[in-house]
């Protein structure tokens, strides 16, 4: 098992290197750089340009050098904890993004947790009450939930909130906490607002997992060993949870490695619709204004988050399913 984990971590390294290259290539794609646009903009407005500062920054990041040198510098700095400088915010990148990455991770992980918390019991109910009214209801809701993309759901929730209840469902904090430093009250306020994005991000996947859980469990319940156990007089509850539920859970656990990237992606776009102070809107802004180090840091960190969560889910699967050979 240890050897398996070490090997997996070992495999992560080339993946991360390629990811960093693609991230860098993507942010470098647009012609020109932030400075050229910014200087032109400032000069057009007859504003004083701090040429010295800009030149210093340019030299530090080697913007005048070839792309691979810039990449090398970028990666070298990141390895030393320096993510670069956000032109737009006039601050080091790590100061700008720390909180936003954290909030994105909170939303993604909470949503993932909620998905399983809802999908597993509902899936079990649906399978054990096959073709009942409840099952049909669950099936219909699941199908609609599957078809409804996150951001459309966010849009509809916003609309209903505003048009019917006359409340704004946007944002993660009440106005008095938005720029306040962290405190117990702010965390409480966050929890009050968290449910909307969590619902939005999680609905599609919850619907999907309900279907998977139902299908797996039905397959499992049809197997002869279940009938044998029933013939022996095992109580239905014991019968259900002893093996079939556990076997049916395995595909759900292995699906975690696909789910987490989806959550992070989903959180990004939902955040734009709901106007959340997470990575989404800031990444969008950074991409638009060619704030390369900010955008690059976001993409790199989101990808790294994804790779790590994939690893975690694989380890979880290896640990939960004894049939997996990790040698």
């Amino acid at each position: 098992m240890i050897s398996y984990i070490i090997r997996r971590i070992f495999y992560m390294i080339p993946t991360l290197i390629i990811i960093s290259m693609i991230s860098f290539a993507v942010i470098q794609l647009p012609p020109g750089d932030y400075l050229t646009t910014k200087i032109a903009q400032l000069q057009a407005q007859d504003e004083l340009v701090n040429i010295d500062l800009i030149e210093a920054l340019r030299a530090e990041y080697g913007l005048d050098k070839p792309v691979y040198v810039q990449y090398g510098k970028w990666i070298w700095n990141i390895l030393h904890g320096n993510f670069g400088y956000s032109w737009e915010w006039q601050k080091p990148v790590e100061e700008v993004i720390g909180e936003r990455i954290l909030l994105t991770a909170i939303i993604s992980f909470t949503a993932t947790f909620m998905i399983y918390l809802v999908a597993i019991p509902v899936g079990i109910f649906s399978a054990t009450n096959k073709y009942s009214v409840g099952d049909y209801l669950v099936t219909i809701i699941a199908f609609v939930g599957l078809a409804l993309p996150n951001f459309l759901l966010a849009l509809l929730l916003l609309f209903i909130g505003y048009a019917v209840f006359d409340v704004s469902l946007a944002g993660l904090f009440s106005s008095e906490f938005a720029n306040a430093p962290w405190s117990a009250a702010k965390v409480g306020d966050l929890l009050k607002h968290l449910w909307i994005p969590v619902i939005v991000v999680g609905t599609t996947s919850t619907a999907g997992r309900i279907r998977v859980m139902r299908g797996n469990l039905l397959d499992e319940l049809n197997k002869p060993y279940v009938m044998a156990a029933r013939a022996k007089g095992l109580s239905e509850i014991k019968l259900l949870f002893k093996y079939p539920v556990r076997v049916a859970l395995n595909p759900l656990i292995s699906g975690l490695s696909v789910l987490l990237p989806q959550m992070i992606s989903g959180a990004t776009i939902t955040a734009v619709v709901l106007g959340l102070p997470t990575t989404g809107p800031m990444l969008l802004g950074a991409l638009r204004s060619q704030d390369v180090y900010l955008a690059g840091a976001f993409i790199l960190l989101l990808c790294t988050l994804t790779v790590i969560s994939t690893l975690l889910s694989d380890i979880l699967l290896a640990w939960s399913d004894p049939r997996i050979q990790y040698e």
Binding site: S3, I6, R7, E327
Partner: protein
């Protein structure tokens, strides 16, 4: 070599080892010896039965002879009208013309027929890819083959889903016969069928062997089937042959304790209780980590000290009867 000239296939010191990879760097830490130093011969027109418990490597031998996989070591020689074909070292290009001399009958009559092809396409495929006949001829040939295996040739345009398991196996036999092969390897050809159907397919195999002068390598775990169809029998245990003899010798006068143990397990209709009835205890040895000495000694009721230390090889104890047992000459074993 002065081989008798009626030999069709001779296999010498054949080995197939699968590497086991372990650890961080996926180092090869050992080998599964699926087939380990196996030699045998099949004469033209005879049926050699190959028996053993599942996992002993008998199907691997079939695949090696057909070159569905490459042997690790050893020679597979095919004797065709005076010519010798070294099957073990043929390249992919050289293999294709050889294929029509040896064909396979599969175990599973469902998985072995492409459900998306008609019977005509399935039986005709070997003819088509080897350009044996032109297309008008092919219909005729396929119809002939269908009649030969006892299928109504009007069913040419039907798909496999129209047929029962036994009928499907007949289609599989017809496909194997399409190229007029010399050797047919039948890998558990009846074990997936109902007992009542098994006899029909066995009779079919027997009849076409007479009519077409075919040679069979008949692989099975079922001794009663092997007894019925084979001229000679080879018994296999953990990658090695432990006894090779004529049908009569194997079943009436076995010389290896493993053969005896297998025979005891064969159900008989006679009312008498077997006085020496006992069952094989323990599990088949792990081919990745076989026991010392004779591989069978942990399960052998006659085992002595020598069996634990000294390895055994196949030796001829009487004409045409080979055994790999230290105690072959002392033991009095019972047949059926």
């Amino acid at each position: 070599m002065n081989e008798p000239n009626d030999t069709l296939l001779s296999v010498e010191r054949l080995k197939k080892h699968f590497p086991i990879k372990k650890g961080l760097m996926r180092r090869i830490t050992g080998y599964v010896r699926a087939v380990d130093d196996v030699s045998f011969r099949i004469r033209k027109g005879e049926t050699l039965g190959l028996v053993g418990e599942s996992g002993c490597g008998k199907s691997t031998i079939g695949k090696l002879v057909l070159r569905a996989m490459k042997p690790t070591a050893g020679r597979i020689m095919f004797h065709l009208d005076g010519r010798e074909v070294p099957v073990h070292e043929l390249s992919d290009a050289e293999l294709r013309p050889f294929r029509k001399h040896a064909q396979l009958i599969f175990q599973d009559p469902y998985a072995s027929l492409n459900p998306r092809m008609t019977v005509r396409e399935i039986i005709g495929e070997p003819i088509l890819v080897n350009r044996d006949h032109d297309s008008e001829d092919m219909d005729q040939r396929v119809a002939e083959l269908m009649e030969l295996v006892g299928l109504d040739s009007r069913y040419l345009k039907r798909y496999p889903h129209a047929f029962s398991g036994g009928q499907r196996q007949r289609i599989g036999v017809a496909r194997a016969l399409a190229l007029n092969p010399d050797l047919i390897i039948a890998d558990e050809p009846v074990s997936a069928l109902d007992v009542s159907i098994q006899a029909q397919i066995l009779n079919l195999l027997h009849d076409i062997q007479q009519d077409l002068n075919l040679t069979y390598l008949f692989i099975s775990h079922d001794l009663s089937v092997v007894e019925y169809i084979s001229d000679r029998v080879a018994v296999m245990y953990v990658g090695k042959l432990v006894e090779v003899a004529d049908n009569e010798d194997i079943f009436r006068r076995p010389k290896h304790p493993y053969t005896e143990a297998l025979l005891v397990a064969v159900p008989r209709i006679s009312g008498e209780r077997k006085a020496h009835a006992y069952t094989l205890s323990g599990n088949v040895a792990d081919p990745a980590n076989p026991p010392s000495g004779c591989y069978f000694h942990p399960r052998c009721r006659y085992a002595k000290d020598v069996c634990q230390t000294k390895s055994v090889s196949l030796e001829e104890i009487s004409p045409g009867h080979q055994v790999a047992c230290h105690l072959a000459s002392e033991l009095e074993l019972k047949g059926l």
